[in-house]
């Protein structure tokens, strides 16, 4: 397939974009990447995702697909010759989808909140909830992996990609907030999985370096403070 048939509108720090990049890598799909700026969205982005105006957007044969989880499933359903991303058993698929929704809807918003929270008490409260979530995900990992190295079993799968894409920001927020969330004591399975995931061929070079994300967080925070400062 020609490179121009597949275009990804994205932004390097977005874990949602990283997901799609990882999936494209897994499927060995050649694609064109267009970097979008948060405060200066391209015509193409606005036209391709008029409802949300957000990245990632995958454009395949001129047709746009939006929402990272939907894009990853689309890739899995179109590029069937590559390794499967979703498990083949319907119950395992339902389990993967359930935890993907949990990670996106319940867990990640807490991580985002922790990034901008100040005050030790407030930080402790949010990190407690995050850790409770991680305990649930550790249990899910044990069940889904069935003794192998990934949520997907022997190979990286849907839930690995969905949760793994947050590892960059997880490490960055740990640094910013000055606390550890994933550790060998409470979540040994996840701790080992995280290293395995980040060193996987399809993932290396996609998830940004922790320090780069920490710098970006500082810039965003400064901008927000400037915007809300009394005039």
């Amino acid at each position: 397939m020609a490179k121009s048939d597949v275009k990804l509108l994205g932004a390097w720090p977005s874990p949602f974009v990283n997901r799609v990049q990882i999936a494209l890598n897994l499927k060995s799909v050649d694609y064109e990447f267009q970097e979008e700026k948060f405060d200066n969205k391209s015509e193409l982005l606005l036209k391709s995702n008029p409802v949300h105006k957000k990245v990632p957007v995958l454009i395949h044969n001129d047709k746009p697909i939006c929402e990272s989880l939907i894009i990853v499933q689309y890739l899995d359903e179109v590029w069937t010759s590559g390794p499967s991303i979703l498990p083949s058993d319907p119950y395992d698929r339902a389990t993967a989808r359930f935890w993907a929704a949990y990670v996106d809807d319940k867990w990640f918003p807490l991580l985002k909140e922790l990034r901008t929270t100040e005050g030790e008490e407030a930080k402790a409260e949010i990190s407690k909830k995050l850790k409770e979530g991680l305990v649930l995900l550790e249990e899910a990992f044990i069940k889904c992996s069935k003794g192998k190295g990934f949520f997907g079993g022997e190979r990286i799968g849907y839930l690995d990609i969905v949760f793994g894409s947050f590892l960059g920001w997880l490490k960055a927020v740990e640094k910013i907030a000055g606390l550890k969330l994933v550790g060998e004591l409470v979540t040994p399975g996840l701790a080992a999985w995280a290293e395995r995931f980040c060193s996987h061929e399809a993932v290396k070079g996609v998830i940004p370096e922790t320090d780069r994300l920490v710098e970006l967080a500082k810039i965003i925070q400064a901008r927000l403070k400037a915007q809300s400062a009394p005039k």
Partner: protein, 228 residues
């Protein structure tokens, strides 16, 4: 092994209704277990420890939660027609997109309209109308989201076909408009006319009373919070 399918539901929640519609469409036999959410059963807590909510589908002892996840499970397990999701990957992506839009964007402002008043309610209503414009555009020229027959996205939006008018009665506000949203109005009618949909609505008067009471309770709580 004989198929054992159980559905945990409440009498009023629209989310388990989605599963009932899907199972009736496919002719799947199932056992219903009614829950009282103010007094959740041990079984519900065991089968859905993360959210403790309905619906939960239990298939041969294995639980699945979250209505959209359950719908996809049903489609993949009971492959007889009608297919809930289309076969074409692009069309599947579109169906999933609009179902997600329903749950993430359309539902919250409607819930807000129900439990607020004054400026807050006005803002929620305005957001709701913006969402309706999006849905209207998507439905233009189509009988159902799924085309000629109801599918995944129709099932997701199905709550609108009875609850919008219930909310209108409780709040005294207009939530849809035949002139401004002709495609939606036609869809609401077409969807309601499907026999298995018609036969499975919860009793309307009971719904009105329930949402009326819920609105009053939430407004009272809000008043208490601001007066402290």
């Amino acid at each position: 092994m004989a198929e054992e399918v159980k559905l945990f539901r409440t009498w009023s929640s629209p989310f388990p209704l989605r599963i009932i519609w899907a199972m009736k469409l496919k002719g799947i036999e199932y056992e219903t277990i009614f829950e009282d959410l103010s007094n959740k059963s041990h079984l519900l807590l065991h089968y859905n420890p993360v959210y403790k909510k309905v619906p939960v589908l239990v298939h041969n002892g294995k639980p699945i939660s979250e209505s959209l996840v359950i719908l996809e499970y049903i489609d993949e397990t009971w492959k007889q027609p009608p297919l809930l999701l289309p076969e074409d990957p692009y069309e599947r992506a579109m169906a999933r997109f609009w179902a997600k839009f329903c749950d993430e964007k359309v539902l919250p402002p409607v819930a807000d309209v129900l439990v607020t008043q004054g400026k807050e309610q006005e803002a929620a209503l305005a957001q709701h109308m913006e969402n309706m414009k999006r849905v209207e555009e998507e439905l233009k020229g189509k009988k159902f989201f799924g085309g000629e027959a109801i599918g995944f996205a129709d099932i997701a939006y199905g709550w609108m076909a009875n609850l919008l008018s219930v909310m209108e009665e409780v709040t005294g506000l207009k939530l849809t408009d035949a002139e401004a949203f002709p495609a939606i109005s036609t869809w609401l009618q077409s969807f309601s006319d499907v026999p298995l949909i018609k036969e499975n609505w919860p009793p309307r008067e009971k719904l009105v009373s329930k949402y009326q009471a819920f609105r009053e309770k939430r407004l009272a709580l809000a008043a208490e919070a601001t007066s402290k």
